[in-house]
């Protein structure tokens, strides 16, 4: 409408909104005058007053209808109508509380599931770090290596060069997760924290609530700045909120650190999944990381970093610049950087924390909750259809006295809006209540505070409101389609009786049930596939025994052991452990397979093997003590195990795995051949079978082992093969360790099976979530089917009675109803199976050794669906079978 037109029409519009009653009175008066005039004229023509009146009414037409048409012509009363509809809608809901409660519950579940998943996505993937400024411009920085698919850590000198030369980055900082023992009084506890660059707190815009952050020089030198910022939680729990904490000393890994700051409440660090408890500058790296002083070693890749781009800079632009920097480093430092690069990752793809592991699950969840929402909508739609059938009479009367269909549609949409708004409110409350639920699904670890919060912010709210409006449209339009075909005359007459399976009226309700069955079948198949692959991955052989092997560790570094003392201690402990009752063998190794710790890696060279030009083969390896292969149950295919004589004074030796033998020696037995590790040549003395090293999902990869004594670390993990139960083993081991040194603390002791379970926890999360929602969907579909069948039975008692009177048995009627229910189910399953065949591919990354089209999985989903359908139909069928023909025919 043009402005000019508003000028003329606004006063009229305003008046009809502000004084609707006056406008109505005037309209009535106008029409009354018209009628009077007409009567006068008719009388003048010679009619009797009575005749004149009737004639006049006939000429004018139905007064009520004209009044309504005039009101509609005024049109502008949107607001007035809306409030009227709102009042009326609420009255309707209160009048049938059972229906309202069920509908709102369905929508709460549907919308709540969506809001919860979106809040997790927001809180874990998009805005994972509370209190950190400008997360939208934050990117994760990882290294790349030619010939390796995954991201790698970065070295400190490389990071410094990148920070100096990146013009598109506003800032970049290091945040590498680490564990520590924390001495409180006379006992030690484990804590988790970050090794960070000195600019950390400035770069993320977080200011300690007490004290201050690090000074610019704090990340320079070796162990030169023993300072620490502690988290609010640690300050409250361990230091009782001591306001005088700044300047006090606290031992971390047995090294006294000065507490210089307390981070503000609500800041949990920058690692998705765990709440950080302390931050130390990079100069203290050697105290927390194994492998020596690495700040000046370009070949030591251990850090995880982030960059914040300048405003308006895209990731692609920044990646281009960073790649250029990397190739300059490649030319300047070919020994360490050949084939090395940098890659930038969006926060939600961060490869080195739980964002990356949860991403595939959360992606699938978006689709799953959309399905659940659709199923919930179909259920509510069905409920509304039943009610709109009951309200046919009301709608017909309103149409008959002149309400337009548009007006009725508005009414129905308003009622839908009330339901959707209540459902959305409930859903948001449910999502808020569930915001920390993901943590519960992950296995607990001692000493680590898991933190995976859902975040209900403006974006999640806006999305929920969007869903609310879509739901409003769906649940408002479904009953409106029913009134479209309202036959005025027919509807005003008494209700007619239907027949079981009468097509005309039931098609929409049946269609909705078919849709529900179809969608929940897809979810069932998805849940079953995930369950199947969890089963497979947990029972798959990692290439080492998982049942009778336990692992733990002793924190020698924390206790201040130097290398000679650590060697003595390891020897003595091993001597004591081997003779413990029930212990079959024991060994040390630097890295636990499938754990979070990363293996050492080295450039390698092999006699007689010529790598493609421009490629420097690098490989990961583990440092293990004699007896490692026997303890873990990894078969030696040829050659020998390491012995105690393979020590620092003996010539270097190595054991390679089968894949490495195939790749580098063409499958020939490599015993006695040479392998270059960290620049020095080692003799191959054995070949071990392949096993899993970092993840159960990895494919066979080349790998090798060197003797612990020839590449020593002070804090290796200890493995014990035993037939003793874990608590007894732990008690015995603690006794032995304390006999050697009462001040030493043991790390958590777990079985290797637990290690496998922890490494597959993302699968567990996916299975649990999809199963819960699949169960919910099944329940909703069952309720939907039950509703349709009981309604059909209730509507057709007359027909059922007739059938019975004509000789049908109760069993016949039972079959009739159940077979109809099963027909609907079969239709849904058919569509569902087709959809599932197309969609289960999307589970891709979450599946392990299970075909997305696994016939067993489809079969069992079908069985569950059929069982649900039969049980949903039983009660209505039973009611049908109990129809009393005499009573029905009398009515």
């Amino acid at each position: 409408m043009r402005i000019e037109q508003w000028f003329y029409s606004l006063p009229v519009r305003l008046r009809s909104v502000l004084h609707p009653n006056q406008a109505d009175r005037e309209l009535k008066e106008e029409l009354r005058q018209h009628l009077e005039q007409q009567i006068k004229e008719n009388v003048a023509k010679g009619m009797s007053p009575e005749e004149a009146r009737y004639a006049a009414l006939r000429t004018l037409g139905g007064i009520t209808q004209i009044e309504q048409q005039c009101r509609d012509a005024r049109g502008g009363n949107v607001i007035e109508d809306f409030f009227q509809d709102l009042r009326y809608g609420f009255r309707q809901l209160v009048r049938s509380p059972g229906f309202s409660a069920l509908a709102i519950l369905c929508l709460t579940l549907g919308i709540g599931a969506n809001a919860a998943v979106y809040s997790w996505i927001e809180g874990i993937l998009f805005r994972p770090y509370p209190a950190v400024a400008h997360q939208e411009r934050l990117l994760a920085l990882a290294g790349t290596a030619r010939g390796e698919s995954g991201p790698t850590p970065t070295s400190w000198p490389d990071f410094l060069d990148l920070r100096r030369n990146c013009t598109l980055c506003e800032d970049s900082f290091v945040s590498k997760i680490t564990g520590s023992t924390l001495s409180i009084g006379d006992h030690a506890e484990t804590a988790v924290g970050s090794i960070v660059s000195a600019n950390y707190f400035d770069a993320i815009g977080v200011h300690p609530m007490l004290g201050h952050g690090f000074d610019p020089g704090d990340d320079v030198g070796d162990a030169s700045h023993p300072v620490v910022v502690i988290s609010y939680q640690l300050w409250r729990s361990r230091f009782k909120g001591d306001p005088q904490i700044i300047g006090k000393a606290q031992r971390f890994n047995n090294v006294p650190h000065t507490i210089i700051g307390v981070a503000p409440e609500g800041f949990y660090g920058t690692f998705v999944g765990w709440a950080m408890q302390f931050w130390v500058p990079a100069s203290m790296e050697e105290t927390f990381e194994s492998g020596g002083y690495k700040l000046e070693d370009r070949g030591a890749r251990w850090i995880e970093a982030y960059v914040r781009l300048k405003p308006e800079v895209s990731r692609a632009q920044a990646q281009q610049e960073i790649s250029a920097i990397a190739s300059r480093l490649e030319t300047t430092y070919p020994a360490t950087n050949r084939g090395r690069g940098f890659s930038l990752w969006a926060l939600w793809q961060t490869p080195f924390n739980n964002a990356g592991t949860l991403l595939p699950t959360l992606e699938v969840m978006v689709a799953v909750v959309a399905f659940v929402l659709l199923i919930a909508c179909a259920n509510v739609g069905n409920l509304l259809l039943v009610r709109s059938f009951a309200r046919r009479h009301e709608m017909s009367v309103r149409l008959a006295i002149g309400a337009s269909r548009v007006r009725l549609l508005k009414q129905l949409l308003t009622e839908g809006l009330i339901l959707a708004a209540l459902g959305t409110t409930g859903g948001l409350l449910a999502a808020y209540w569930c915001r920390h639920a993901l943590v519960l699904l992950l296995p607990a670890r001692s000493g680590v505070a898991m933190y995976l919060p859902g975040e209900i912010d403006g974006r999640v709210m806006a999305l929920s409101i969007g869903i609310c409006l879509i739901v409003t449209l769906i649940v408002g339009i479904i009953p409106a389609l029913q009134t479209r075909n309202l036959d005025l005359a027919g509807a005003l007459k008494a209700e007619s009786s239907a027949v079981v399976g009468a097509r005309k009226k039931a098609w929409m309700r049946s269609g909705l049930v078919v849709l529900q069955v179809c969608l929940s079948f897809v979810l069932l198949v998805g849940a079953a596939l995930l369950l199947e692959s969890l089963q497979k991955i947990r029972t798959a052989s990692p290439g080492f025994s998982t049942t009778s092997v336990v692992t733990t560790g002793v924190s020698l570094v924390a206790a201040g052991y130097d290398v000679p003392r650590a060697k003595t201690f390891q020897n003595e402990l091993m001597g004591r452990v081997r003779v413990l009752p029930g212990v079959q063998s024991a060994a040390f190794a630097r890295v636990t397979p499938l754990g979070y710790g990363s293996y050492s890696s080295t450039p390698i060279a092999v006699d007689g093997y010529h790598p493609p030009l421009e490629e420097q083969p690098t490989m990961e390896y583990n440092q293990v003590s004699p007896g490692y292969f026997a303890t873990l149950g990894i078969p030696l295919l040829s050659g020998r195990d390491f012995t105690r004589t393979d020590d620092e004074n003996a010539p270097p030796v190595a054991i390679v795995n089968r894949t490495m033998m195939t790749l580098y020696w063409g499958g020939q037995d490599p015993i006695g051949r040479r392998l270059q590790v960290k620049g020095s040549w080692a003799r191959v003395v054995g070949v071990a079978a392949d096993s899993k090293y970092e993840s159960m999902r990895e494919t066979a990869r080349p790998f090798f082992y060197v003797p612990l004594r020839q590449d020593f670390v002070r804090a290796p993990a200890l493995y014990i093969r035993t037939n003793q139960p874990l608590p007894a083993m732990l008690a015995a081991l603690v006794r032995e360790v304390h006999a050697l040194d009462a001040n030493l603390a043991l790390y958590e002791m777990i079985t290797l099976q637990e290690q496998v379970n922890r490494s597959t926890s993302p699968q567990l999360v996916a299975v649990t979530l999809v199963s819960i929602l699949g169960g919910l969907a099944l329940l909703l579909a069952g309720v939907g089917l039950y509703g349709v069948m009981s309604y059909a039975v209730a509507q057709s008692t007359r027909e059922l009675g007739l059938r019975m009177a004509l000789g049908a048995s109760a069993a016949n009627l039972l079959r009739l109803v159940i077979s109809r229910g099963l027909r609907l189910t079969a239709g849904g399953v058919l569509f569902g199976a087709a959809a599932a065949l197309a969609l289960t591919r999307l589970l891709g990354k979450l599946l392990y050794n299970v075909s997305p089209h696994d016939p067993w999985v489809f079969g069992s989903a079908l069985a569950v669906m059929a069982a649900t359908a039969v049980s949903a139909c039983l009660l209505p069928a039973w009611r049908a079978a109990r129809t009393d023909p005499a009573r029905v025919l009398r009515e």
Binding site: S9, E26, A73
Partner: protein
Amino acid sequence: MSKPSDLVQGTLDMLILKILALQPWNGWDIGQRLKQISSDVLGVSDGSLYPALHKLEHRGWIRSQWKASENNRRAKFYSLTQLGRKQLERETTNWNRVSAAISGIVKLKEA
């Protein structure tokens, strides 16, 4: 309820504007005038007159006022606004063009 045919529906607005262009009238008078002018050919019922009046008023083409009528009773009088006058001109031009075109076609057929 008799409804005007589609053709009349379109032209009813124009006729009302045309009638009001001369002087303000009340609803009854407009009805009478419509009948006179169209000699009942168009079959405009009084039933469809009032919704049309209210619609035009809401579009800002006419305005209403309660005034004393000839027999000294208060009645609702409708008059044309500036905007309505422009609208009438537009519709008249339009009408002339369309009817000229149509009669052209009709003549063509006869020829």
